[in-house]
Amino acid sequence: MNFLAGKWFSDWLEGLGRIAMMTRETVLSLLTFKARWRDLLYQIYFIGIKSQSVVLVTGAFTGMVLGAQTYFQFHKVQMDTATLAVVGVSMCDELGPVLTALMVAGRVGAAIAAEIGTMRVTEQIDALRTLATHPVDYLVVPRLIATHIALPLLTIEAIAIGIGSCYLVGVYLLGIDPAFLWEDAKIYTHDIDLAIGVVKAFIFGGIIALIACYKGMTCPMGAEGVGRATTEAVVYSSITILICNFFLTLIIGKLVGLM
């Protein structure tokens, strides 16, 4: 038992060390910008444009269900018009960035890990290296920059759709007064809330890209290896996002004076 725990811990430490080395290599490559614009634009298209449906549905239904639940509770104490304010702050600070990141981790993280993992098992990564191309420059950097750009934009979109959906549900389904609903939302939702969401999304984008690329590049040989790398990329990036979100909330809360 002790042996197994020791092995698990040493494997975990080794993985952490390797991902740190890959991050270092990525930062060095970013400083000299060896990626091609064409690759970068394709990745932004793949991560940003192709994730539209997932993000729109997630944002809309999260806003609607949160709005309905908030209304059910607030209605008991005659605070119906505060519904959109609660949804606005929740979507901006937490739900927008976290749910968007989780959905993108599932769609994009899996795709990145599977693509790079397949390249590894079919010797395409070795071929890149023989063609004097560093795999980090060609595979990791464009994906990292693209997720850093796309995820904050997708998050803003999810927040806007979530708030809009909540407004529609509140006004047309639950019968809340639209003027007071909107005014309360404007009073209690600040620019800083949106900024917090964007900062979190930027960091989550990096987490998704780095974990997915790392899992792909170190994927065990064979079809089973690619499958395992894909699953691990999604699971590890989702868990890391949830854990990081807690600490980011505390750190940002302290920085902006909420604590």
């Binding site: 290599e25 091609r36 390249m119 079919t122 010797e123 395409q124 070795d126 071929a127 290296r129 023989t130 063609l131 004097a132 191309t133 560093h134």
Partner: protein, 249 residues
């Protein structure tokens, strides 16, 4: 010139190479033969720095590459082209994009010049007109030829071939051998071919190395090597399971 000194490499507890020594002169066409799973491809990957040795040294033009990091190796690898056993073409790209890849990464040529050189490389490997096809639309032999076109398009000094004829029918194998000879003679490159195809080894090599029991067991010019009376060498050349059944006794 490539020199390997006392190369050692293990995977886990299994030792694959244990004190390999070899020297390949500039312009030479070396063939490395040996049994399947004997470490030929592992040795080849050490020559270009895809694998790092546990012990010993690999020198390319006098420069030791065994302890270089990935960025330092990129400079050394510009001298090399490599043809993989499974071709290792980028399956998201067309044939043209695959062959153009090393030229476009360098960003020193105009688009027209890249297209011209790609067309010429595809002509050398007898595959003109396939530019717009995807690797999945090509046969195994055609994929290997595209792999060769990609390896020669930037005119490297050394080309490594990892089992170029494995899995191909005898006619396609012969055409691949012809291509290797044509590239060797026209571009005056150093060639290193890993194979267990004896016909191919006789045709393309002017120096044969036999890897056996984790070491270079025998080496020499093809005519001298293939006339060897050594039981182990004969067993491999004649392709018999039992050393006592060799054709020359």
């Amino acid at each position: 010139m490539i020199e390997v000194r006392q190369l050692q490499r293990s995977f886990g507890s299994q030792k694959i190479l244990d004190g390999v020594d070899l020297r390949i002169e500039t312009g030479e066409s070396a063939v490395i033969i040996g049994r399947s799973g004997g470490g030929k491809s592992v040795l080849l990957k050490h020559l270009i720095g895809l694998l790092q040795p546990d012990g010993g040294e690999v020198l390319v033009d006098g420069e030791s590459i065994g302890r270089m990091n990935e960025r330092q190796l990129l400079r050394v690898r510009e001298k090399f082209g490599m043809v993989f056993q499974g071709a290792a073409l980028f399956d998201s790209m067309t044939v043209e994009e695959n062959v153009a890849f090393p030229l476009e990464r360098k960003r020193t040529l105009t688009a027209g010049e890249v297209r011209r050189r790609v067309a010429h490389a595809l002509e050398v490997v007898d595959l003109p007109g396939t530019e717009k096809k995807k690797p999945a639309e090509l046969s195994g032999g055609m994929r290997k030829r595209v792999g060769l076109a990609r390896a020669i398009v930037y005119e490297p000094q050394i080309i490594l071939y990892d089992e170029p004829t494995t899995g191909l029918d005898p006619i396609v194998s012969d055409s691949i051998d012809n291509l290797i000879i044509r590239v060797r003679d026209h571009l005056k490159v150093t060639s290193v071919v890993v194979t267990h195809d004896m016909r191919s080894a006789r045709r393309v090599g002017n120096h044969v190395f036999m890897l056996h029991e984790k070491k270079i067991y025998a080496n020499g010019a093809p005519e001298e090597f293939f006339a060897s009376q050594d039981a182990i060498v004969r067993q491999f050349i004649d392709g018999v399971a039992d050393a006592d059944d060799t054709l020359i006794k």
